[in-house]
């Protein structure tokens, strides 16, 4: 057991570090003002791509490096260590790209993949809808084939990250309502600048707008942009969702909140409290800190499995499950130690870091799979517990709509 790189890994890490070192200023830093400027972000990703640090695990013919998941993990670690902001096209790389690779035509490969990795094009993923959250296959956005063979898409998608910047998206649509709901779906690549596509920011409770609503009003999509067969969209979507898990991959990076950062914050404030309060704060901090250490080292175990060549399984979700609760507790604690300023949104120094974090975390337990859905997945896929009986078995989509009174 050791935490050291293998010689190959060490060599790769050195190469990655050298590149980052060389381009340190160009790459920018987390916390920089311009981190929300998408042109800067696209340029950063292009720079990293040209340095061979984007799409590490993608096949060479898809514009990638043909590397290992461990090499990708090392890149992630080094970029995080150097505080380089995240890639703008993370969803494109993690979800859209793999779907195009598996189900797209050679022409689509040529047209899209390299540009995606360089962030010449930004991509988004259009699956969720107002009436279908956890139950993704209940989606209602329709695609109807026209006489010339092209398709017309109408409907509404939500929770679409980056839709306002995106050039392309993959969109899951219903092409046949008269079969069971999983059966009648079809996937397309859609031009986000096409007529009929309207993007509206969706504000979260924290005040930020990390997501969008996207409205499709009779948007024309040529049949060549179909991914997979007509009616096979559910299988195509599963590729997308599996790829998401693979792209997250563990790797010891913490979700949502750095416990060490919070410990620093608490450490700076705990001395101002009464002795009794200090004892109470230490218990809460201790519990959250132990949780976060457990999550971190469990991530290292997953990384070790990746290093051996294993693919991450559903147990990778355990980290998120453990992380969201303790992150919420920690954020509450971080706000509480602000004392008399804890009830305001902004502290006297103008900082709102902890209050913002507090408002972001309830959504973290929902985004990317609610805690309940993750528990079902782990219970069934890891522990082998039986699934719940499905009330929607053997029912067509149209029938299920009628039953729900919709």
């Amino acid at each position: 057991m050791d935490f050291d790189d293998t010689p190959d890994e060490a060599a790769w890490r050195a190469k990655v570090r050298a590149f980052i070192e060389e381009h340190r200023e160009e790459l920018g830093r987390r916390g920089d003002e311009q981190r929300f400027d998408d042109r800067v972000a696209r340029a950063r990703q292009a720079l990293l791509y040209d340095g061979g640090l984007v799409g590490v695990t993608w096949p060479v013919e898809a514009g990638g490096q043909g590397g290992t998941p461990m090499q990708q993990a090392i890149v992630d670690q080094e970029l995080a260590r150097a505080e380089v902001p995240g890639l703008i096209n993370l969803i494109g790389i993690g979800m859209c790209g793999p779907t195009v690779i598996h189900h797209g035509s050679p022409e689509q490969h040529r047209r899209y993949l390299k540009r995606l990795l360089r962030a010449d094009d930004v991509w988004c993923q259009l699956f969720s809808e107002p009436a279908s959250g956890s139950d993704l296959a209940a989606l209602r956005t329709r695609a109807v084939r026209t006489e010339d063979g092209s398709w017309r898409i109408s409907g509404q998608k939500v929770w679409t990250t980056l839709a306002h910047l995106a050039d392309h998206g993959i969109v899951l649509t219903r092409t046949d309502p008269d079969v069971a709901k999983h059966r009648g779906l079809t996937m397309f690549v859609v031009d986000m600048k096409a007529p009929g596509v309207t993007v509206r920011p969706l504000r979260q409770m924290s005040g930020g707008a990390d997501f969008n609503e996207v409205f499709f009003d009779d948007v024309v999509v040529p049949d060549e942009e179909r991914l997979g067969d007509v009616g096979d969209g559910w299988r195509v979507a599963l590729t997308t969702l599996m790829s998401e898990r693979l792209s997250l991959g563990g790797g010891g990076t913490e979700i949502g909140v750095g416990s060490a950062a919070i410990a620093e914050h608490v450490a700076r404030h705990v001395g101002d409290l009464s002795a009794d309060r200090q004892a109470l704060v230490r218990q809460e901090l201790g519990r959250a800190y132990v949780d976060s250490l457990g999550t971190r080292y469990t991530g290292y175990r997953q990384l070790s499995a990746i290093s051996r060549g294993d693919l991450p399984g559903p147990e990778a979700s355990a980290g998120k499950l453990a992380g969201t609760r303790s992150a919420r507790d920690l954020a509450d604690l971080a706000v509480r130690v602000l004392g008399e300023h804890a009830a305001y949104a902004v502290g006297p120094s103008g900082s709102s870091t902890w209050q913002d974090l507090q408002a972001v975390l309830p959504g973290m337990a929902i985004a990317g799979g609610t805690d309940q859905v993750l528990r079902n997945v782990i219970g069934e896929r890891v522990l082998g517990l039986p699934p719940e009986p499905r009330a929607d078995k053997g029912v067509t989509f149209r029938e299920s709509l009628a039953a729900a009174g919709a």
Partner: protein, 349 residues
């Protein structure tokens, strides 16, 4: 990055499992509870068999006849011991091996079984006192050793052999031994956490197996979210505890400076995890889960006692927080390591 057991350790786990599963079981713990007098309760595998197996003294150097293994090796065995609620505890042997380091004569007697030792902390209950006749303790800053009178009290968990010890004439083994003492205590916490990992993991297994079999209202109870999610929460805790145990054992073997935090974190997580695992085991079983004949309460008893051993869970969480605060103030915490900052923590979302 290779944060995992190696093949040798996997083999070690398998052979420890063979030995322990055939020589100990919760049923023995139940019988011990029924014994007329606590001091007469039989342990399994018992001190002699455990010593004879060689597993107890894995961490004693080969020069003194021990296994010359690492603490991680011992932790791997301890997990197996915890699964079947074996007694006496490997904690006792691990601490003794650290305290007697350099004293090859006594170590040899630990290995051949003639030194029946337990470690005395202050005035509290002494782990494995019931099967010991010689005691190690700290007097001032001196490590001392000697015989003692043992009063074995009615146990919650009989496999822990807890008793009150009044020491007789002691001899000084080592002066100025406080640092060694503290190191031994931390090593003990790691082994405690490893035993609790085994117990919690086994409790989870029993609960999952029952939830897959037992039917209610026409389907297995494990299909109900209330049962499923409770078991998943235990699973997540057990896997996190496993990571902390391995990390803490690795730290004891190879990174002394990380041991205080790692040992305290493992100890704290062990208390919380085993408590939750045992409670869940009982609840998942419904009526059968709180009967004397079911094994659930034996794991629950282990949890109720272990949370108080080697300092309680509250003390361990407090220590974690103090160390985290100290690291943060010194700027050498994992945050520096990972290059994070408060701003980054938020920006990374």
């Amino acid at each position: 990055m290779n944060f995992d057991l190696d093949d040798e350790q996997r083999d070690l786990a398998a052979s420890a499992r063979d030995f322990l599963a055939s020589s100990a079981s919760p049923a023995v713990a139940r019988a011990a509870l029924d014994a007329d007098h606590p001091a007469a309760a039989a342990l399994a595998p018992g001190r002699d068999a455990l010593v004879a197996s060689g597993f107890a003294t894995i961490t004693v150097p080969e020069s003194a006849g021990g296994g010359g293994g690492s603490l991680l090796d011992l932790a791997v065995v301890a997990e197996q011991a915890g699964r079947v609620l074996a007694g006496p505890s490997l904690i006792t042997f691990a601490r003794a091996a650290v305290l007697l380091a350099g004293d090859d004569e006594r170590l040899a007697r630990l290995v051949d079984g003639s030194l029946r030792v337990a470690v005395v902390d202050g005035t509290g209950p002494v782990l494995d006192a019931a099967s010991a006749d010689t005691f190690l303790t700290l007097r001032g800053d001196d490590l001392v050793c000697g015989p003692g009178a043992v009063d074995v009290r009615a146990p919650i968990d009989p496999t822990r052999g807890l008793g009150q010890v009044v020491l007789g004439d002691v001899e000084v083994l080592a002066p100025d031994a406080r640092l060694r003492w503290e190191h031994a205590e931390r090593v003990g916490r790691v082994v405690l956490a490893a035993e609790d990992l085994g117990a919690a993991g086994r409790a989870l297994e029993i609960g999952v197996a029952y939830a897959r079999e037992r039917q209610a209202f026409g389907r297995a109870i494990g299909s109900y979210q209330a049962v499923k999610h409770a078991l998943v929460d235990v699973y997540v805790q057990v896997e996190q505890l496993r990571s902390l145990v391995w990390w803490a054992a690795w730290a004891a073997d190879q990174a002394d400076d990380k041991l205080p935090m790692a040992a305290a974190a493992a100890k704290a997580a062990a208390a919380t995890t085993l408590t939750t695992a045992a409670e869940t085991l009982i609840q998942v079983h419904g009526g059968i889960g709180f009967t004397w004949e079911h094994d659930a309460h034996l794991y629950w008893r282990r949890a109720k006692v272990d949370r108080f051993l080697l300092g309680d869970d509250v003390a361990a969480y407090d220590e974690v927080a103090r160390l985290a605060i100290a690291q943060a103030l010194a700027g050498d915490g994992p945050s520096a390591e990972a290059g994070a900052s408060a701003e980054a923590a938020v920006a990374a979302r």
